[in-house]
């Protein structure tokens, strides 16, 4: 097609949400008074006007096929008011104004295999990244990890058993686009990239790959008479940052790309300030299709948290109160030299006091 025939885009940007918003929400925008939690998976918001809206939240497979999407819209038409929203963790929310419609809506969702829950002090759906399904740098498959975990944690999604809400995430490379979580399951490479020297000259802009390395471990080099790169393997921290700009820096390894579990990431300002997650376990085999070793560790942590944490304590706050020695004692996980940080600012993470629990 000639350029002149091409259709210029309409640069409309981010669309107006009010056109798709439930009329009760539109009418009471900014005028809500309080909410109650009638049961897991259901919220009831009451506006200053006295109007009410019920939210029914359900977990799905996130990677939706059009058949599943149409099942959801059909339920939305038949049992709810035709208005839908997706949460940040890819849960779907339906809205109804009549309380009598709540139970039939839940039943319709459950009959079709969706899972109602994920509100308040539950484990909500793991937020996840793309993985082998359609990313170009992953060390594992995020959708498969999430499916496997949620099969095991489904009762924690459907009930309010936890001290506070538990947000879990997975990331399939060390860039961690999955973000911070109360519990995070992330890829951790353990060996430097293997370099495909035959390809570097063809596909990589060498200076930008060199610049990408956080520890300056990459140098331009001539290998077999061709321009290539070399890695100082003593310096390399196996982060994989060189791989996206230069696929010949092969970081993914069937054996040595492992999983690590991190805890205590929290975005909210409630009580303490927001916190980053901290390493608790690594060296976990990347074991598709069910990742049982990673699942067992997550379940063990959740069990200890559930038994030992106080109401409203997030996972990170719980460990802050009981201390790291007790955390490792309770969970039975090993404490190693790798738990002690050496990245910039690391000294702030050391105990410079006599605060020790006995």
């Amino acid at each position: 097609m000639a350029m002149a025939d091409m259709r210029p885009p309409i640069e409309s940007g981010c669309p107006d949400g009010f056109q798709y918003m439930h009329p009760t929400m539109r009418r009471n925008f900014g005028l809500w008074k309080y909410h109650t939690d009638p049961r897991p998976g259901v919220l009831c918001h009451v506006a200053k006007s006295g109007e009410k809206i019920f939210t029914v939240k359900a977990g799905t497979q996130r990677i939706l096929d059009v058949f599943t999407l149409r099942k959801l819209t059909k339920i939305g038409d038949e049992y709810a008011d035709g208005f839908i929203r997706f949460t940040i963790r890819s849960n779907i929310e339906f809205y109804v104004t009549e309380e009598a419609k709540v139970e039939p809506l839940i039943k319709a969702l459950e009959d079709e295999g969706f899972v109602v829950g994920g509100t308040k002090n539950s484990v909500t759906t793991l937020s996840h990244t793309q993985g082998w399904l359609h990313c170009d740098i992953p060390g594992t498959d995020a959708s498969g990890v999430v499916k496997s975990m949620m099969d095991e944690l489904i009762d924690e999604f459907k009930n309010w058993n936890m001290p506070n809400r538990v947000h879990m995430t997975t990331s399939c490379c060390q860039i961690n686009c999955g973000g911070q979580g109360d519990i995070a399951i992330n890829v951790q490479h353990t060996k430097p990239p293997k370099i495909d020297h035959t390809q570097v000259a063809n596909v990589c802009e060498r200076p930008s790959v060199v610049a990408r390395c956080p520890v300056a471990a990459i140098r331009p080099a001539m290998v077999d008479g061709q321009p290539s790169l070399e890695v100082d393997e003593k310096k390399c921290i196996c982060c994989g940052a060189c791989f996206p700009p230069c696929p010949p820096m092969m970081i993914n390894d069937a054996e040595h790309s492992k999983l690590a579990v991190w805890i205590g990431g929290n975005h909210s300002n409630a009580r303490g300030k927001p916190t980053f997650q901290k390493l608790v376990a690594s060296g976990i085999p990347n074991n598709p299709p069910r990742w049982p070793e990673a699942g067992a560790i997550v379940k063990q942590i959740l069990k200890c948290y559930k038994e030992d944490a106080r109401d409203w304590e997030r996972v990170g706050e719980w460990v802050e109160r009981i201390g790291w020695p007790r955390f490792f004692e309770l969970t039975g996980l090993p404490f190693t030299k790798y738990h002690i940080d050496n990245w910039r600012g690391a000294r702030a993470s050391l105990n410079a006091s006599t605060h020790i629990r006995f």
Partner: protein, 416 residues
């Protein structure tokens, strides 16, 4: 219809078991039952490649260059490295499409999007990717254009990919949350739609993200996940309904209230009276939201609402995770002028960063490199003690401008 070729998928089949909805069953349904032959074949091939990944524990997609006419970004190109074995999914590009603030849809609109996508794509989509886009996963180079042309006509535009302003996100907010202190919809659209050109034509040092949360609960993860975080807050007294509070005391018991509300306030701003009322030291409340979260009927946000703006949040690459830091402790966000001023601040920040950021350096990393004060001077924002956890601990600094700076402080105080 059925796929021309079916691949064995013993490992993926295991993911059809168990009570949680299975994405594998969904992809198989497209392979086996969809009436579009392209969908049958492309999803069959996709399953074959994915099974191959599960067996070998390796990914087999590579990037490339694909865009729609007039734009430089918004498509994630995917070409298969194992197209010889799985030819039908040799091109499997993803389109990033910007949703509304708060992710609202009618069922009709979702059906319409599904209609378009099953004409031109694989029939797989995600609401939403981690950056916040609707991700339409899997189509050919040619069909990225035809699909985009069709949905663009009824109101949808591409999001960002590459070194550009990215798709923004907001929490559910004022539409359905009593905690909300701002109009997240307006804030998101004012900000991101001012930069439409920067969304579609990547030319910045790296990505730049706006995220908006209506209150400090930050359900949108704005502080940690965006370069420009807008968080609703208030500066007058919180609302207290003593009658409802006494009701909580009566049903939950004093011990529960002491253990879960009073002693959990990070600044000890709460007290339980002998008469079972609550007293709030509003001057020392840091608006953390905890007490309001526990008893939403008794406590609520105040009336004099506005926003706090934090700059520079990001994930690991390259120097490690960073939270955004306070650059604007409080500003009103009510009138047109208020929104315009916020947009001007964003322009100021993006311009300064575009000029001073290194290639592939996020705004927060630049601030780390040059220091907050140089950044503030660059964007013409005055220092404020709300920007720090504590003041300087090191004496190794040249301070011969002290007297002038002290005068400036008193002048600003006098103006306020």
């Amino acid at each position: 219809m059925a796929a021309k070729k079916i691949y064995e998928t013993p490992m993926l089949d295991v993911l059809e078991e168990g009570p949680w909805p299975s994405f594998i069953s969904g992809i198989k349904a497209l392979r086996d039952n969809h009436e579009n032959q392209f969908i049958n074949d492309v999803t069959s091939s996709l399953l074959g490649q994915l099974e191959h990944s599960y067996e070998t524990r390796k990914g087999y997609w590579k990037g490339g260059t694909v865009s729609v006419f007039g734009y430089g970004g918004g498509i994630i190109p995917r070409f298969s490295e194992v197209a010889d074995a799985f030819p039908e999914s040799k091109e499997f590009h993803t389109l990033r499409v910007q949703p509304t603030p708060g992710n609202y849809y009618t069922t009709d609109m979702l059906n319409q999007l599904a209609d378009s996508w099953e004409k031109y794509g694989s029939g797989l989509q995600t609401f939403h990717g981690q950056t916040g886009n609707i991700m339409f996963i899997g189509t050919t180079t040619e069909n990225t254009q035809t699909f985009f042309d069709e949905i663009n006509e009824y109101g949808w535009d591409l999001g960002g990919a590459g070194p550009c302003v990215r798709t923004a996100m907001s929490c559910v907010g004022a539409a359905r949350c009593e905690m909300s202190c701002t109009n997240e919809h307006a804030a998101q659209r004012w900000l991101v739609n001012n930069f439409t050109d920067d969304v579609h034509r990547p030319a910045l040092p790296y990505k730049f993200k706006f995220k908006i949360s209506g209150c400090p609960n930050d359900c949108q993860n704005a502080i940690e996940r965006s370069d420009f975080a807008v968080i609703g807050t208030w500066r007058d007294d919180m609302k207290v309904n003593q009658k409802e509070f006494m009701e909580y005391v009566k049903t939950k018991g004093r011990q529960y209230i002491i253990d879960n509300v009073i002693t959990r306030c990070p600044t000890q701003a709460l007290a339980l009276g002998d008469d079972d009322t609550i007293q709030v030291d509003n001057r020392n409340c840091v608006r953390c939201m905890h007490c309001i979260n526990v008893m939403p009927k008794a406590l609520g946000v105040g009336d004099d609402k506005g926003v706090t703006i934090l700059i520079g949040g990001k994930r690991t690459l390259k120097i490690g995770d960073l939270m955004g830091t306070v650059v604007v402790p409080f500003r009103k966000l009510d009138t047109r002028e208020d929104y315009e001023e916020m947009v001007e601040l964003a322009e100021e920040i993006i311009d300064f960063w575009a000029e001073n950021g290194l290639e592939h350096e996020r705004c927060g990393e630049m601030i780390e490199r040059i220091g907050l004060v140089n950044f503030l001077e660059g964007i013409d924002v005055e220092v404020d003690p709300n920007m720090v956890n504590n003041t300087r601990q090191s004496s190794y600094v040249r301070m011969d401008g002290w007297d002038d700076e002290a005068v400036k402080w008193f002048e600003r105080k006098a103006e306020a």
